[in-house]
């Protein structure tokens, strides 16, 4: 599909939306599989919709839905987050698992990375055993062939008793065949794995007690109960009468006691043995492994001696040069000075003044805080170029496969603040948009990590819009810039260290797949950047307009002045002049908005270097924006969010106070 076609397609629908249309009545097709096997791409192929595709695991945090039209009807296709087995660990996996267990799917497409079939066929066996209407898609078949992996799909299909289709989602090969299987597929019937005498005996006796029903097979239900899977236990409570349920639990408990290891362990070994036996007949794998330039480069990047300088270079070139200098400098200047000041503001002002006779109403559109002159100008001339350049840089990094390597380099350091290297991906994303990053905290494993990262994002990571404005503000004051950056690092480490010590729960544990390095494709980077910018703009643009409106109302009702008066002592406390209150009040809407408010103060010379630094520090520590608050509420709950917001408010001003006091005590003038 061409880029332009996709772009036109998306223009109406946007992305990352939970759902856009299909009713609940259509038969469902679930797309499941391990992370990073091309599920999303396959979903796009099936539905013609677009969801973000990345070269690292854990991009799909939402369940995307779309419609597939075939010759014999319409289906609702559901793209699920990655899952490795029928025993979920992370929230993402739990989501997929619930979908499988609860939804009556017309078909379940298990997407397998063909070259890694040894590792992934186990889930196929589990899905078949569960009696689901399974279709196995051997995806990336071209890549596997390139490596010399040969799979006899017909023979595999015969052995498994379910349709097996070779596909290449990137080019669309095999997709028609896959679609052709959907209407014909029947629930799988073949039980292929023997879990050993002890487990099998327990399974048989539990199956006898369980009621027959719809959904997944009794055998799988029994195994889930033996594994003490939450989902299985909940089902038991709801669907089985108490006496029987207790008997089942007793049986399961007794079986577990007799085993030396967990049920998962034996199940895993049995599945692996079975997979190997099947593949011995159906596939051949080359002995020699590819060890080319790409592999050598990958290994170099994973050595700290080379990896760390590269990391710094990436941050410098990507973040500072491209986003900071080009995006926030060149592009912003052009849009602000040339486009807005030259072509938009004057005619609009003239037009509004000519059409609307009342100065009060004129102010709403073109005044100091007008919707056009402030709201739209900020959104389009300042935020848009910065965010776009950031997302371009991030998409390139993402598709190259560099981010997981960065994660493995940084893991040890992050353990000190209660996180793992995995957190580095949402964190880097946070430099673009904290709101988006807060959503991606879902890819972390424990609640403890999620809380720590959510707070750190809100407190210490400035988003691209803010960085842009701050870089502009502190232009020509490298010492101030350094102080600000240093202060943020200190707060980051201190807050993380403290939280990891205070919060209860086990320490985090790190594991991550390192996908092969790839050259990012122009099309994918363009589409990704586009969809992210659209998403961002949809979230942000209304807020800007709303803020202008609020300010306008506030100014005329006098509420605004009241609030500013209330803020003044706080602002003075951290050593800033009265006028800074206005900027801080804006800061409550969005922190970059507040920072932008400081622009005018700086231009008029009302702030000296120290005051500017303190103001910037305080604003950075603020909660990023209203959208962030809302996402935090969605992800962490209202109570936690209020608690965090309160803490952040206090910390922001105490941080400013500390910075001001420190600078004064040390007699530093920036």
């Amino acid at each position: 599909m061409s880029v332009t076609r996709l772009l036109t397609k998306m223009a109406g629908s946007g992305c990352h939306v939970e759902d856009a249309g299909p009713g609940p009545t259509l038969p469902k097709v679930l797309v499941v599989g391990s992370p990073n096997v091309g599920k999303s791409l396959l979903f796009n192929r099936l539905t013609g919709r677009y969801v973000t595709v990345s070269n690292y695991p854990g991009t799909t945090v939402d369940v995307s839905r779309g419609v597939l039209k075939t010759a014999d009807g319409r289906y609702e296709v559901v793209d699920t987050p990655g899952m490795y087995s029928l025993a979920p660990i992370t929230d993402e996996e739990r989501v997929s698992f619930s979908l499988l267990v609860q939804q009556e799917a017309r078909a379940v497409i298990h997407v397998i990375d063909a070259k890694n079939i040894q590792r992934m066929l186990g889930l196929s066996l589990q899905l078949a055993e569960a009696g689901l209407p399974l279709i196995v898609a051997l995806n990336m078949a071209d890549e596997a062939r390139g490596l010399g992996v040969r799979i006899d799909a017909a023979k595999l299909q015969e052995t498994l008793g379910v349709p097996v289709v070779e596909t290449v989602a990137t080019t669309g090969r095999g997709i028609p065949e896959l679609i052709g299987q959907i209407s014909a597929v029947r629930p799988a019937t073949r039980v292929l794995t023997n879990y050993g005498a002890a487990l099998e005996e327990a399974v048989v006796s539990i199956v006898e007690i369980l009621p027959g029903g719809n959904g997944i097979s009794a055998r799988t239900r029994a195994l889930l109960l033996l594994q003490e899977e939450e989902e299985g236990l909940a089902w038991l409570r709801q669907n089985v009468e108490l006496a029987k349920a207790e008997r089942v639990l007793r049986l399961a408990g007794r079986a577990r006691c007799a085993l030396r290891h967990s049920v998962h362990y034996y199940a895993a070994i049995a599945l692996k043995a079975r997979v190997e036996k099947i593949l011995a007949d159906c596939a051949t794998f080359p002995v020699a492994r590819a060890n080319g330039v790409r592999e050598r480069l990958s290994r170099m990047l994973m050595r700290p001696v080379i990896g760390v300088p590269v990391l710094l270079a990436v941050l410098y070139a990507g973040l500072y040069k491209f986003v900071g200098s080009f995006g926030a400098g060149v592009l912003v200047d052009f849009l602000q000075e040339t486009v807005f000041s030259g072509y938009i503001t004057p005619p609009v002002t003239r037009f509004v003044e000519a059409v609307i006779p009342w100065p009060m109403l004129q102010e709403l559109f073109v005044g100091e805080y007008g919707i056009v002159t402030l709201g739209i100008r900020y959104a389009v001339a300042i935020i848009l170029p910065i965010v776009s350049t950031f997302f371009i840089a991030f998409s390139i990094l993402e598709d190259s496969g560099y981010l997981p390597r960065m994660a493995m380099l940084i893991d040890r350091a992050f353990k000190k603040i209660g996180l793992t290297g995995r957190a580095v991906i949402p964190m880097v994303l946070g430099f673009g948009c904290d709101t988006m990053a807060t959503m991606v905290t879902r890819t972390l494993e424990t609640r403890r990590e999620k809380i720590i990262l959510t707070l750190l994002l809100a407190l210490t990571i400035p988003c691209s819009a803010q960085i842009g404005v701050i870089l502009g503000l502190l232009q020509g004051r490298p010492a101030a810039l350094l102080t600000w950056a240093g202060f943020m690092v200190v707060v980051f480490v201190a807050a993380g260290g403290l939280l990891s010590r205070v919060l209860p729960g086990e320490g985090p544990s790190f594991y991550m797949e390192l996908p092969p390095l790839r050259v990012p494709s122009f099309g994918n980077v363009a589409i990704k950047t586009y969809t992210r910018v659209v998403w961002y703009f949809k979230e942000v643009f209304p807020l800007f307009i709303l803020a202008s409106l609020f300010i306008w109302v506030g100014r005329f009702t006098g509420l605004f002045d009241l609030l500013i008066k209330g803020m003044t002592p706080l602002v003075n406390w951290i050593g800033l002049p009265d006028q800074a209150s206005t900027a801080f009040l804006f800061g409550f809407f969005r922190r970059d908005y507040g920072a932008a408010g400081l622009y005018d103060l700086q231009k008029s010379g009302a702030l000296n270097g120290n005051q500017l630094t303190v103001a910037v520090i305080t604003i950075t520590l603020f909660l990023p924006c209203v959208a962030q608050f809302l996402i935090m509420k969605k992800e962490r709950g209202m109570k936690m969010t209020l608690l965090m917001s309160g803490a952040i408010f206090v910390l922001a001003f105490s941080g400013g106070f500390a910075a001001n006091t420190l600078l004064n005590l040390l007699g530093i003038t920036l």
Binding site: I89, R119, L147, V149, M302, R412, L514
Partner: protein, 219 residues
């Protein structure tokens, strides 16, 4: 040398070398007569004493017995009360270098489950000299070496599930790529990075120096 002779040598070795008791002979059995004929023991006064070759042979039997105990306890997880009895039968089976292979498999243990020392074999000395342990946790492996996962030393469900996700189950082929700052390994056609706590529970049989143990059996 039949198993009765071996028993006799073992008995003498324990008395003489480990307990340092004086030679004494309660009964003169066929086994001792045979050992005498093989010049593995000699008569001293009323009792028997091990000759040098006899001492070596006795030490070997003791070693095999205790290795058998380790195998039965650590791998097969036999209950302690049957250990000694079964090990007595096993010890006679570990011939043709099989003891060496089992020693390697167990990671050159120094003590039996009862805490008594296992006389080191050639393989143990070699392993110490080369600092090579053929079975170690992944975190102690050497980058670039291939191995097979033999065991997962954890019962934590989450950890086991992560291992499964990475294709790490007993029998899986694995290659360690690097150890710092995180542990990176190859499993199938994929690479994974893990931290030390996870790397410590993956027990791997490395392919280093494997030929020696196996060749001895082949001959």
């Amino acid at each position: 040398m039949n198993s009765l002779v071996e028993e006799a040598l073992e008995w003498l070795y324990l008395r003489e070398v480990e307990r340092r008791e004086e030679p004494e002979s309660p009964e003169t059995g066929r086994a001792l007569e045979e050992a005498l004929a093989l010049a593995l023991v000699e008569r001293v006064g009323g009792g028997y004493r091990l000759t040098d070759p006899g001492r070596t042979a006795g030490r070997d039997v003791v070693r095999r017995h205790r290795l058998a105990e380790c195998l039965l306890r650590n791998v097969v997880r036999e209950e302690p009360e049957y250990l000694h009895e079964d090990a007595c039968r096993f010890e006679h089976l570990f011939v043709h270098g099989l003891d060496e292979h089992i020693c390697v498999l167990l990671g050159h243990p120094r003590k039996c489950p009862h805490g008594r020392p296992i006389p080191p074999g050639l393989c143990c000395e070699r392993a110490v000299a080369d600092e090579i342990k053929e079975i170690t946790p992944l975190c102690d492996g050497r980058p670039g070496v291939n191995g097979t996962v033999v065991y997962l030393a954890t019962r934590k469900r989450r950890e086991i599930q992560k291992m499964m996700a990475m294709g790490i189950v007993p029998g899986a082929q694995i290659q360690l790529i690097q150890r710092s700052p995180s542990y990176v390994f190859q499993s199938g056609y994929s690479q994974f990075a893990i931290d030390r706590p996870l790397a410590a529970v993956i027990i791997v049989h490395w392919e280093i120096g494997r030929g020696r143990g196996y060749l001895a059996v082949a001959e």
